[in-house]
Protein backbone atom coordinates (compact mmCIF):
# COMPACT_ATOMS: atom_id res chain seq x y z
CA UNK A 1 0.00 0.00 0.00
CA UNK A 2 1.30 3.45 -0.87
CA UNK A 3 2.14 5.76 2.01
CA UNK A 4 -0.26 8.70 2.10
CA UNK A 5 1.44 11.84 0.85
CA UNK A 6 -0.28 14.03 3.44
CA UNK A 7 -0.77 13.47 7.12
CA UNK A 8 -4.12 15.17 7.00
CA UNK A 9 -6.19 15.45 3.85
CA UNK A 10 -9.46 17.36 4.08
CA UNK A 11 -11.43 17.11 0.86
CA UNK A 12 -14.30 19.48 0.05
CA UNK A 13 -15.86 19.17 3.49
CA UNK A 14 -19.20 20.85 4.10
CA UNK A 15 -21.28 20.86 7.26
CA UNK A 16 -24.52 22.65 8.16
CA UNK A 17 -26.37 22.97 11.45
CA UNK A 18 -29.93 23.33 10.23
CA UNK A 19 -29.96 26.51 8.18
CA UNK A 20 -26.59 27.67 9.55
CA UNK A 21 -23.58 27.01 7.33
CA UNK A 22 -20.72 25.77 9.51
CA UNK A 23 -18.30 24.69 6.76
CA UNK A 24 -18.51 24.98 3.02
CA UNK A 25 -16.22 23.09 0.62
CA UNK A 26 -13.20 23.22 2.90
CA UNK A 27 -10.14 21.62 1.34
CA UNK A 28 -6.87 21.50 3.22
CA UNK A 29 -3.81 19.29 3.04
CA UNK A 30 -1.33 19.27 5.89
CA UNK A 31 2.07 17.58 5.76
CA UNK A 32 4.08 15.93 8.51
CA UNK A 33 5.79 18.41 10.82
CA UNK A 34 3.67 21.31 9.64
CA UNK A 35 1.99 23.68 12.09
CA UNK A 36 -1.25 25.23 10.88
CA UNK A 37 -2.64 28.20 12.76
CA UNK A 38 -6.38 27.89 12.18
CA UNK A 39 -7.80 31.37 12.65
CA UNK A 40 -11.19 32.95 12.47
CA UNK A 41 -13.80 34.75 14.49
CA UNK A 42 -16.11 32.85 16.85
CA UNK A 43 -18.51 30.83 14.72
CA UNK A 44 -16.21 30.81 11.70
CA UNK A 45 -16.12 26.99 11.73
CA UNK A 46 -12.82 26.22 13.47
CA UNK A 47 -14.24 23.91 16.15
CA UNK A 48 -16.49 22.18 13.62
CA UNK A 49 -13.49 21.46 11.40
CA UNK A 50 -11.52 20.13 14.37
CA UNK A 51 -14.51 18.02 15.40
CA UNK A 52 -14.69 16.48 11.93
CA UNK A 53 -10.97 15.71 11.84
CA UNK A 54 -11.22 14.19 15.35
CA UNK A 55 -14.13 12.01 14.24
CA UNK A 56 -16.61 13.65 16.62
CA UNK A 57 -18.72 15.08 13.81
CA UNK A 58 -19.69 13.70 10.42
CA UNK A 59 -19.42 16.06 7.47
CA UNK A 60 -22.52 16.42 5.31
CA UNK A 61 -20.28 16.21 2.23
CA UNK A 62 -16.61 15.52 1.61
CA UNK A 63 -14.24 13.63 3.88
CA UNK A 64 -11.28 14.15 6.17
CA UNK A 65 -8.57 11.50 5.84
CA UNK A 66 -6.02 11.05 8.62
CA UNK A 67 -2.94 9.13 7.48
CA UNK A 68 -5.14 7.84 4.68
CA UNK A 69 -7.82 6.48 7.05
CA UNK A 70 -11.44 7.52 6.50
CA UNK A 71 -13.82 8.10 9.44
CA UNK A 72 -15.36 4.65 8.89
CA UNK A 73 -12.08 3.07 10.07
CA UNK A 74 -12.62 4.72 13.46
CA UNK A 75 -10.17 2.85 15.68
CA UNK A 76 -7.31 2.82 13.15
CA UNK A 77 -7.81 6.46 12.33
CA UNK A 78 -8.19 7.58 15.95
CA UNK A 79 -4.81 6.01 16.78
CA UNK A 80 -3.23 8.83 14.79
CA UNK A 81 -5.20 11.76 16.23
CA UNK A 82 -4.54 13.52 19.52
CA UNK A 83 -7.34 15.88 20.48
CA UNK A 84 -6.97 18.71 22.99
CA UNK A 85 -10.48 20.14 23.32
CA UNK A 86 -11.00 23.75 24.30
CA UNK A 87 -12.37 22.91 27.77
CA UNK A 88 -10.03 21.11 30.16
CA UNK A 89 -11.24 17.53 30.52
CA UNK A 90 -9.69 15.51 33.34
CA UNK A 91 -10.93 12.94 35.86
CA UNK A 92 -10.89 14.82 39.16
CA UNK A 93 -10.19 11.88 41.49
CA UNK A 94 -7.61 10.24 39.23
CA UNK A 95 -3.86 10.89 39.44
CA UNK A 96 -1.70 12.32 36.67
CA UNK A 97 0.01 8.94 36.24
CA UNK A 98 -3.32 7.12 36.03
CA UNK A 99 -4.50 9.57 33.35
CA UNK A 100 -1.42 8.94 31.25
CA UNK A 101 -1.68 5.17 31.74
CA UNK A 102 -5.34 5.21 30.67
CA UNK A 103 -4.81 7.18 27.47
CA UNK A 104 -1.58 5.34 26.65
CA UNK A 105 -3.43 2.01 26.88
CA UNK A 106 -6.39 3.30 24.90
CA UNK A 107 -3.97 4.16 22.10
CA UNK A 108 -2.48 0.66 22.15
CA UNK A 109 0.71 1.09 24.20
CA UNK A 110 1.70 -1.51 26.75
CA UNK A 111 4.74 -2.70 28.66
CA UNK A 112 7.95 -0.75 28.06
CA UNK A 113 6.36 1.27 25.27
CA UNK A 114 3.62 2.45 27.62
CA UNK A 115 6.13 3.38 30.32
CA UNK A 116 8.23 5.26 27.78
CA UNK A 117 5.24 7.11 26.33
CA UNK A 118 4.06 8.11 29.82
CA UNK A 119 7.53 9.34 30.75
CA UNK A 120 7.83 11.27 27.49
CA UNK A 121 4.39 12.92 27.76
CA UNK A 122 4.92 13.83 31.42
CA UNK A 123 8.40 15.20 30.67
CA UNK A 124 7.23 17.18 27.64
CA UNK A 125 4.50 18.87 29.66
CA UNK A 126 6.51 19.35 32.86
CA UNK A 127 4.46 16.89 34.91
CA UNK A 128 7.17 14.42 35.92
CA UNK A 129 7.08 15.40 39.60
CA UNK A 130 3.28 15.31 39.76
CA UNK A 131 2.50 11.75 38.67
CA UNK A 132 0.97 10.74 42.02
CA UNK A 133 -1.13 13.88 42.39
CA UNK A 134 -4.86 13.76 41.70
CA UNK A 135 -6.25 16.15 39.10
CA UNK A 136 -8.37 17.92 41.71
CA UNK A 137 -5.16 18.86 43.55
CA UNK A 138 -3.49 20.48 40.52
CA UNK A 139 -3.34 24.20 39.76
CA UNK A 140 -5.18 25.55 36.72
CA UNK A 141 -2.02 25.60 34.62
CA UNK A 142 -1.03 22.08 35.68
CA UNK A 143 -4.50 20.79 34.80
CA UNK A 144 -4.18 22.40 31.38
CA UNK A 145 -0.81 20.72 30.87
CA UNK A 146 -2.27 17.36 31.94
CA UNK A 147 -5.09 17.96 29.46
CA UNK A 148 -2.50 18.35 26.68
CA UNK A 149 -0.34 15.46 27.94
CA UNK A 150 -3.30 13.06 27.66
CA UNK A 151 -3.36 13.81 23.92
CA UNK A 152 0.39 13.31 23.57
CA UNK A 153 0.75 9.97 25.33
CA UNK A 154 -0.78 8.14 22.37
CA UNK A 155 2.05 9.51 20.18
CA UNK A 156 -0.35 10.99 17.58
CA UNK A 157 0.57 11.90 14.01
CA UNK A 158 -2.01 14.69 14.00
CA UNK A 159 -2.39 16.90 17.05
CA UNK A 160 -5.51 19.06 17.26
CA UNK A 161 -5.14 21.90 19.76
CA UNK A 162 -8.28 23.96 20.30
CA UNK A 163 -7.21 27.05 22.26
CA UNK A 164 -4.76 25.02 24.38
CA UNK A 165 -3.47 27.94 26.43
CA UNK A 166 -6.81 29.46 27.44
CA UNK A 167 -6.64 30.65 31.08
CA UNK A 168 -3.03 29.45 31.37
CA UNK A 169 -0.34 30.99 33.55
CA UNK A 170 2.87 32.23 31.89
CA UNK A 171 4.86 29.06 32.70
CA UNK A 172 2.20 26.68 31.39
CA UNK A 173 1.73 28.73 28.22
CA UNK A 174 5.48 28.66 27.61
CA UNK A 175 5.61 24.90 28.24
CA UNK A 176 2.76 24.24 25.81
CA UNK A 177 4.17 26.48 23.06
CA UNK A 178 7.62 24.98 23.47
CA UNK A 179 6.12 21.48 23.28
CA UNK A 180 4.18 22.32 20.11
CA UNK A 181 7.35 23.46 18.37
CA UNK A 182 9.22 20.35 19.49
CA UNK A 183 6.38 18.06 18.38
CA UNK A 184 6.38 19.58 14.90
CA UNK A 185 10.10 18.92 14.68
CA UNK A 186 9.32 15.27 15.45
CA UNK A 187 7.10 15.20 12.36
CA UNK A 188 3.75 15.62 14.08
CA UNK A 189 1.25 17.69 12.14
CA UNK A 190 -0.30 20.32 14.41
CA UNK A 191 -3.56 22.19 13.96
CA UNK A 192 -3.62 25.07 16.42
CA UNK A 193 -6.48 27.45 17.11
CA UNK A 194 -6.17 30.44 19.40
CA UNK A 195 -7.43 33.96 19.89
CA UNK A 196 -4.07 34.98 21.41
CA UNK A 197 -2.39 35.63 18.08
CA UNK A 198 0.95 36.60 19.60
CA UNK A 199 1.44 32.90 20.47
CA UNK A 200 1.67 32.08 16.80
CA UNK A 201 4.52 34.56 16.19
CA UNK A 202 6.71 32.14 18.07
CA UNK A 203 5.50 29.07 16.17
CA UNK A 204 5.69 30.77 12.74
CA UNK A 205 2.96 28.56 11.28
CA UNK A 206 1.05 28.36 8.08
CA UNK A 207 -2.00 30.56 8.59
CA UNK A 208 -5.39 29.35 7.47
CA UNK A 209 -8.23 31.79 7.96
CA UNK A 210 -11.84 30.66 8.06
CA UNK A 211 -14.68 33.06 7.53
CA UNK A 212 -18.32 31.94 7.55
CA UNK A 213 -17.22 28.34 7.05
CA UNK A 214 -14.93 28.98 4.09
CA UNK A 215 -11.17 29.20 3.86
CA UNK A 216 -10.46 32.78 2.81
CA UNK A 217 -6.68 32.68 3.13
CA UNK A 218 -3.98 30.03 3.33
CA UNK A 219 -0.35 31.25 3.42
CA UNK A 220 2.69 30.73 5.58
CA UNK A 221 3.47 33.46 8.07
CA UNK A 222 6.80 34.04 6.29
CA UNK A 223 4.97 34.67 3.02
CA UNK A 224 2.67 37.14 4.71
CA UNK A 225 5.57 38.88 6.38
CA UNK A 226 7.19 39.30 2.96
CA UNK A 227 3.98 40.65 1.50
CA UNK A 228 3.23 43.03 4.34
CA UNK A 229 6.84 44.14 4.70
CA UNK A 230 8.61 45.67 7.68
CA UNK A 231 8.79 49.35 8.48
CA UNK A 232 10.71 51.90 10.51
CA UNK A 233 8.70 54.47 12.45
CA UNK A 234 10.63 57.70 13.10
CA UNK A 235 9.22 60.05 15.75
CA UNK A 236 10.45 63.64 15.92
CA UNK A 237 10.28 66.30 18.65
CA UNK A 238 8.27 68.54 16.37
CA UNK A 239 6.71 68.10 12.97
CA UNK A 240 8.50 65.57 10.77
CA UNK A 241 10.92 67.17 8.31
CA UNK A 242 10.13 67.18 4.57
CA UNK A 243 12.93 64.67 3.91
CA UNK A 244 11.25 62.14 6.23
CA UNK A 245 7.75 62.75 4.84
CA UNK A 246 9.12 62.19 1.35
CA UNK A 247 10.27 58.69 2.36
CA UNK A 248 7.08 57.43 4.01
CA UNK A 249 3.62 58.25 5.32
CA UNK A 250 2.81 60.33 8.38
CA UNK A 251 1.34 58.40 11.32
CA UNK A 252 0.46 61.41 13.46
CA UNK A 253 1.77 64.96 13.89
CA UNK A 254 5.21 63.70 15.01
CA UNK A 255 5.85 60.33 13.33
CA UNK A 256 6.48 58.92 9.88
CA UNK A 257 6.19 55.24 8.87
CA UNK A 258 8.79 54.26 6.29
CA UNK A 259 8.39 50.82 4.65
CA UNK A 260 11.58 48.79 4.19
CA UNK A 261 12.65 45.21 3.54
CA UNK A 262 15.55 45.03 5.98
CA UNK A 263 14.99 47.51 8.83
CA UNK A 264 18.47 47.02 10.34
CA UNK A 265 20.40 47.87 7.16
CA UNK A 266 17.91 50.42 5.84
CA UNK A 267 17.94 52.45 9.05
CA UNK A 268 21.52 53.62 8.48
CA UNK A 269 20.60 54.82 4.98
CA UNK A 270 17.49 56.60 6.28
CA UNK A 271 19.46 58.45 8.94
CA UNK A 272 22.00 59.53 6.31
CA UNK A 273 19.21 60.89 4.14
CA UNK A 274 17.86 62.93 7.06
CA UNK A 275 21.23 64.72 7.38
CA UNK A 276 21.38 67.28 10.25
CA UNK A 277 17.62 66.92 10.82
CA UNK A 278 18.21 63.59 12.49
CA UNK A 279 19.02 65.58 15.68
CA UNK A 280 15.26 66.25 15.93
CA UNK A 281 14.60 62.50 16.25
CA UNK A 282 12.96 61.49 19.53
CA UNK A 283 12.67 57.72 18.91
CA UNK A 284 13.12 55.04 16.28
CA UNK A 285 10.84 52.02 16.24
CA UNK A 286 11.23 48.95 14.03
CA UNK A 287 7.88 47.41 13.09
CA UNK A 288 7.82 43.81 11.83
CA UNK A 289 4.54 42.22 10.75
CA UNK A 290 3.11 39.90 13.37
CA UNK A 291 0.48 37.20 13.07
CA UNK A 292 -2.00 39.83 14.19
CA UNK A 293 -1.02 42.08 11.27
CA UNK A 294 -1.24 39.12 8.93
CA UNK A 295 -4.59 38.02 10.37
CA UNK A 296 -6.03 41.51 9.95
CA UNK A 297 -4.83 41.60 6.38
CA UNK A 298 -5.99 38.04 5.72
CA UNK A 299 -9.37 38.45 7.32
CA UNK A 300 -10.14 41.45 5.14
CA UNK A 301 -9.22 39.47 2.02
CA UNK A 302 -12.38 38.90 -0.05
CA UNK A 303 -13.66 35.29 0.12
CA UNK A 304 -12.30 33.20 -2.72
CA UNK A 305 -9.04 35.12 -2.96
CA UNK A 306 -6.11 32.72 -2.68
Amino acid sequence: MDQPTACLDIRAVSKDYGSVIALRDVTLTVSRGEIVGLLGANGAGKSTLIGIVAGLLRPDRGEALVEGFAPSAHSSRAHHVGLVPQDVGVYETVTVGEHLRLFGRLYGAKGERLTGAMRWAAGTMGLTGLLDRRAAQLSGGQRRRLHVACALVGRPRVLLLDEPTANCDVESRAAILSAVGALAELGICVIYTTHVLSELDELAPRLVVLRSGRIVADQSLAQWRDMLGSAVVLTFTGAPPEAALAMGTPVDGHSVRIPCQDPGADLVRLLDQLGHRRHALRSVQVSRPTVEHAYRALSTTPAGTP
Binding site: L56, L57, H74, D87, G89, V94, G108, C150
Partner: protein, 262 residues
Protein backbone atom coordinates in the same frame (compact mmCIF):
# COMPACT_ATOMS: atom_id res chain seq x y z
CA UNK B 1 -13.18 -9.11 19.97
CA UNK B 2 -9.60 -8.32 18.99
CA UNK B 3 -6.67 -8.05 21.41
CA UNK B 4 -6.55 -4.28 20.83
CA UNK B 5 -10.25 -4.00 21.62
CA UNK B 6 -9.80 -6.05 24.81
CA UNK B 7 -6.95 -3.77 25.88
CA UNK B 8 -9.07 -0.66 25.36
CA UNK B 9 -12.00 -2.11 27.31
CA UNK B 10 -9.63 -3.22 30.09
CA UNK B 11 -8.08 0.27 30.27
CA UNK B 12 -11.43 2.03 30.61
CA UNK B 13 -12.71 -0.67 32.95
CA UNK B 14 -9.69 -0.10 35.22
CA UNK B 15 -10.49 3.62 35.28
CA UNK B 16 -14.15 2.98 36.10
CA UNK B 17 -13.25 0.61 38.95
CA UNK B 18 -10.77 3.18 40.32
CA UNK B 19 -13.43 5.89 40.23
CA UNK B 20 -15.98 3.55 41.85
CA UNK B 21 -13.54 2.57 44.60
CA UNK B 22 -12.90 6.23 45.42
CA UNK B 23 -16.59 7.20 45.49
CA UNK B 24 -17.48 5.77 48.90
CA UNK B 25 -20.81 7.58 49.21
CA UNK B 26 -22.22 5.01 46.78
CA UNK B 27 -21.85 2.24 49.35
CA UNK B 28 -23.61 4.26 52.04
CA UNK B 29 -26.66 4.74 49.83
CA UNK B 30 -26.73 1.19 48.48
CA UNK B 31 -25.84 -0.84 51.59
CA UNK B 32 -25.77 1.15 54.83
CA UNK B 33 -29.05 3.04 54.28
CA UNK B 34 -31.18 -0.11 53.67
CA UNK B 35 -29.66 -1.84 56.69
CA UNK B 36 -30.59 1.11 58.88
CA UNK B 37 -34.11 0.98 57.51
CA UNK B 38 -34.25 -2.78 58.16
CA UNK B 39 -33.84 -2.14 61.89
CA UNK B 40 -37.06 -0.17 61.99
CA UNK B 41 -39.12 -2.11 59.47
CA UNK B 42 -38.28 -5.63 60.75
CA UNK B 43 -40.80 -5.85 63.64
CA UNK B 44 -43.62 -4.46 61.51
CA UNK B 45 -43.05 -6.86 58.62
CA UNK B 46 -42.82 -9.81 61.01
CA UNK B 47 -46.42 -9.05 61.94
CA UNK B 48 -47.34 -8.66 58.29
CA UNK B 49 -45.91 -12.08 57.45
CA UNK B 50 -47.71 -13.59 60.43
CA UNK B 51 -50.94 -12.14 59.07
CA UNK B 52 -50.16 -13.83 55.73
CA UNK B 53 -49.88 -17.14 57.57
CA UNK B 54 -46.13 -17.40 58.17
CA UNK B 55 -46.27 -17.52 61.92
CA UNK B 56 -42.67 -18.69 62.33
CA UNK B 57 -41.18 -16.03 60.02
CA UNK B 58 -38.62 -13.67 61.53
CA UNK B 59 -39.70 -10.73 59.36
CA UNK B 60 -36.29 -10.70 57.66
CA UNK B 61 -37.75 -12.90 54.86
CA UNK B 62 -39.76 -9.85 53.80
CA UNK B 63 -37.72 -6.89 54.97
CA UNK B 64 -34.34 -7.95 53.51
CA UNK B 65 -35.47 -8.86 49.96
CA UNK B 66 -37.87 -5.90 50.06
CA UNK B 67 -35.09 -3.46 50.81
CA UNK B 68 -32.78 -5.27 48.38
CA UNK B 69 -35.11 -4.66 45.45
CA UNK B 70 -35.96 -1.15 46.61
CA UNK B 71 -32.37 0.02 47.02
CA UNK B 72 -31.10 -1.96 44.04
CA UNK B 73 -33.10 0.50 41.98
CA UNK B 74 -30.60 3.20 42.92
CA UNK B 75 -28.14 1.39 40.64
CA UNK B 76 -30.10 3.03 37.81
CA UNK B 77 -28.81 6.41 38.99
CA UNK B 78 -25.28 5.06 39.24
CA UNK B 79 -25.41 3.75 35.68
CA UNK B 80 -26.48 7.19 34.51
CA UNK B 81 -23.89 8.90 36.67
CA UNK B 82 -20.93 7.09 35.09
CA UNK B 83 -21.99 8.48 31.71
CA UNK B 84 -23.06 11.97 32.79
CA UNK B 85 -19.89 12.37 34.87
CA UNK B 86 -18.00 12.43 31.55
CA UNK B 87 -20.01 15.48 30.51
CA UNK B 88 -19.43 17.16 33.87
CA UNK B 89 -15.69 16.56 33.73
CA UNK B 90 -15.67 17.33 29.98
CA UNK B 91 -13.99 14.04 29.12
CA UNK B 92 -16.73 12.58 26.92
CA UNK B 93 -15.43 14.03 23.63
CA UNK B 94 -11.95 12.92 24.57
CA UNK B 95 -13.15 9.32 24.97
CA UNK B 96 -15.08 9.54 21.71
CA UNK B 97 -12.04 10.83 19.87
CA UNK B 98 -9.92 7.96 21.21
CA UNK B 99 -9.79 4.58 19.45
CA UNK B 100 -12.58 3.33 21.76
CA UNK B 101 -15.74 2.36 19.90
CA UNK B 102 -19.16 3.20 21.30
CA UNK B 103 -19.73 -0.46 22.15
CA UNK B 104 -16.44 -0.64 24.05
CA UNK B 105 -17.33 2.47 26.07
CA UNK B 106 -20.73 1.04 27.00
CA UNK B 107 -19.31 -2.36 27.99
CA UNK B 108 -16.51 -0.86 30.09
CA UNK B 109 -18.96 1.39 31.90
CA UNK B 110 -21.67 -1.21 32.52
CA UNK B 111 -19.55 -4.09 33.80
CA UNK B 112 -18.65 -2.28 37.06
CA UNK B 113 -22.34 -1.47 37.50
CA UNK B 114 -23.23 -5.16 37.18
CA UNK B 115 -20.59 -5.94 39.80
CA UNK B 116 -21.86 -3.12 42.02
CA UNK B 117 -25.49 -4.27 41.86
CA UNK B 118 -24.65 -7.93 42.48
CA UNK B 119 -22.25 -6.98 45.29
CA UNK B 120 -24.92 -4.80 46.90
CA UNK B 121 -27.49 -7.59 46.88
CA UNK B 122 -24.97 -10.13 48.18
CA UNK B 123 -23.92 -7.78 50.99
CA UNK B 124 -27.51 -7.11 52.04
CA UNK B 125 -28.42 -10.81 52.12
CA UNK B 126 -25.22 -11.60 54.05
CA UNK B 127 -25.97 -8.83 56.56
CA UNK B 128 -29.57 -10.05 56.75
CA UNK B 129 -28.40 -13.53 57.68
CA UNK B 130 -25.77 -12.28 60.12
CA UNK B 131 -27.73 -9.56 61.95
CA UNK B 132 -31.46 -9.77 61.15
CA UNK B 133 -32.24 -13.45 61.50
CA UNK B 134 -32.72 -14.22 57.80
CA UNK B 135 -32.84 -18.02 57.62
CA UNK B 136 -30.40 -18.59 54.79
CA UNK B 137 -29.11 -22.00 53.69
CA UNK B 138 -26.34 -22.67 51.19
CA UNK B 139 -28.77 -24.58 48.99
CA UNK B 140 -30.74 -21.34 48.48
CA UNK B 141 -27.71 -19.34 47.29
CA UNK B 142 -27.78 -20.43 43.59
CA UNK B 143 -31.46 -19.51 43.35
CA UNK B 144 -30.91 -16.15 45.04
CA UNK B 145 -27.96 -15.52 42.70
CA UNK B 146 -30.13 -16.27 39.64
CA UNK B 147 -32.76 -13.81 40.83
CA UNK B 148 -30.09 -11.19 41.64
CA UNK B 149 -28.58 -11.55 38.16
CA UNK B 150 -31.93 -11.16 36.40
CA UNK B 151 -32.87 -8.13 38.54
CA UNK B 152 -29.43 -6.61 37.95
CA UNK B 153 -29.71 -7.05 34.19
CA UNK B 154 -33.08 -5.33 34.27
CA UNK B 155 -31.79 -2.43 36.37
CA UNK B 156 -28.65 -1.88 34.29
CA UNK B 157 -30.74 -2.02 31.11
CA UNK B 158 -33.17 0.46 32.64
CA UNK B 159 -30.22 2.66 33.62
CA UNK B 160 -28.81 2.57 30.08
CA UNK B 161 -32.19 3.52 28.64
CA UNK B 162 -32.33 6.40 31.13
CA UNK B 163 -28.92 7.54 29.86
CA UNK B 164 -30.25 7.46 26.31
CA UNK B 165 -33.39 9.44 27.08
CA UNK B 166 -32.18 11.94 29.68
CA UNK B 167 -30.16 15.04 28.88
CA UNK B 168 -29.01 15.83 32.42
CA UNK B 169 -28.66 14.21 35.84
CA UNK B 170 -31.64 16.04 37.33
CA UNK B 171 -33.93 14.15 34.98
CA UNK B 172 -32.19 10.94 36.00
CA UNK B 173 -32.70 11.85 39.67
CA UNK B 174 -36.45 12.16 39.13
CA UNK B 175 -36.63 8.77 37.39
CA UNK B 176 -34.43 7.15 40.02
CA UNK B 177 -36.20 8.48 43.11
CA UNK B 178 -39.77 8.31 41.90
CA UNK B 179 -39.10 4.93 40.28
CA UNK B 180 -37.56 3.48 43.42
CA UNK B 181 -40.45 4.59 45.64
CA UNK B 182 -43.19 3.73 43.18
CA UNK B 183 -41.83 0.33 42.24
CA UNK B 184 -41.05 -0.47 45.88
CA UNK B 185 -44.55 0.43 46.98
CA UNK B 186 -46.42 -1.26 44.14
CA UNK B 187 -44.11 -4.25 43.98
CA UNK B 188 -44.57 -5.17 47.62
CA UNK B 189 -41.14 -4.19 48.89
CA UNK B 190 -42.51 -2.15 51.78
CA UNK B 191 -45.76 -4.01 52.37
CA UNK B 192 -46.54 -7.53 51.08
CA UNK B 193 -48.62 -7.35 47.90
CA UNK B 194 -51.39 -9.37 49.58
CA UNK B 195 -51.92 -6.49 52.00
CA UNK B 196 -52.00 -3.75 49.34
CA UNK B 197 -55.30 -2.15 48.17
CA UNK B 198 -56.97 -3.89 45.25
CA UNK B 199 -56.01 -1.26 42.64
CA UNK B 200 -52.35 -1.50 43.72
CA UNK B 201 -52.45 -5.31 43.55
CA UNK B 202 -53.65 -5.11 39.97
CA UNK B 203 -50.79 -2.73 39.03
CA UNK B 204 -48.11 -4.70 40.87
CA UNK B 205 -47.23 -7.17 38.06
CA UNK B 206 -46.23 -4.19 35.92
CA UNK B 207 -43.26 -3.52 38.16
CA UNK B 208 -39.89 -5.32 38.18
CA UNK B 209 -39.95 -5.20 41.96
CA UNK B 210 -43.00 -7.45 42.04
CA UNK B 211 -41.32 -10.17 40.00
CA UNK B 212 -38.03 -10.00 41.86
CA UNK B 213 -39.70 -10.01 45.24
CA UNK B 214 -42.04 -12.80 44.24
CA UNK B 215 -39.03 -14.91 43.35
CA UNK B 216 -37.11 -13.99 46.50
CA UNK B 217 -40.09 -14.85 48.68
CA UNK B 218 -40.51 -18.13 46.84
CA UNK B 219 -36.99 -19.05 47.91
CA UNK B 220 -36.87 -17.58 51.40
CA UNK B 221 -40.27 -18.09 52.99
CA UNK B 222 -40.82 -21.36 54.86
CA UNK B 223 -42.24 -24.24 52.78
CA UNK B 224 -42.00 -22.29 49.55
CA UNK B 225 -38.92 -23.37 47.58
CA UNK B 226 -41.05 -22.79 44.51
CA UNK B 227 -38.78 -23.30 41.48
CA UNK B 228 -41.60 -22.59 39.02
CA UNK B 229 -42.16 -19.14 40.46
CA UNK B 230 -38.43 -18.43 40.42
CA UNK B 231 -38.15 -19.50 36.79
CA UNK B 232 -41.17 -17.45 35.73
CA UNK B 233 -40.01 -14.34 37.60
CA UNK B 234 -36.39 -14.44 36.48
CA UNK B 235 -37.57 -15.15 32.93
CA UNK B 236 -39.86 -12.11 33.02
CA UNK B 237 -37.06 -9.91 34.32
CA UNK B 238 -34.59 -11.20 31.70
CA UNK B 239 -37.11 -10.67 28.92
CA UNK B 240 -37.79 -7.12 30.08
CA UNK B 241 -34.03 -6.51 30.39
CA UNK B 242 -33.50 -7.71 26.82
CA UNK B 243 -36.15 -5.32 25.53
CA UNK B 244 -34.63 -2.42 27.49
CA UNK B 245 -31.11 -3.15 26.19
CA UNK B 246 -32.33 -3.46 22.61
CA UNK B 247 -34.15 -0.12 22.76
CA UNK B 248 -31.23 1.58 24.54
CA UNK B 249 -28.56 0.26 22.18
CA UNK B 250 -30.49 1.12 19.02
CA UNK B 251 -31.22 4.65 20.27
CA UNK B 252 -27.80 5.38 21.81
CA UNK B 253 -26.47 8.58 20.25
CA UNK B 254 -22.92 9.37 21.38
CA UNK B 255 -23.01 12.79 19.74
CA UNK B 256 -26.16 14.03 21.49
CA UNK B 257 -25.53 17.22 23.49
CA UNK B 258 -25.90 16.59 27.23
CA UNK B 259 -24.88 18.30 30.44
CA UNK B 260 -24.32 16.93 33.90
CA UNK B 261 -26.35 19.58 35.73
CA UNK B 262 -28.83 22.26 34.73
Amino acid sequence: MTAASRQRVAALLALELTLLRRNRSVYIVLVVAPLLLAIFLGPLLRLALAQEGYASATGAEQVIPGLVVMFAFFVVGNVAFVFFREYGWKTWDRLRASPLTTGEIVVAKLVPMLVLALGQQAALFAAGAAFFGLPLRWAQVPLLAAIAVSLTLFLVGFGLLTVVLATNLRQVGVVENVGAMLFAGLGGALTPVALLPGWAQSLAPGTPTYWALRAYRAVLLPDRPDLGTVALSTGALCLAATVLFLIAVTRFDVGRKKVMWV
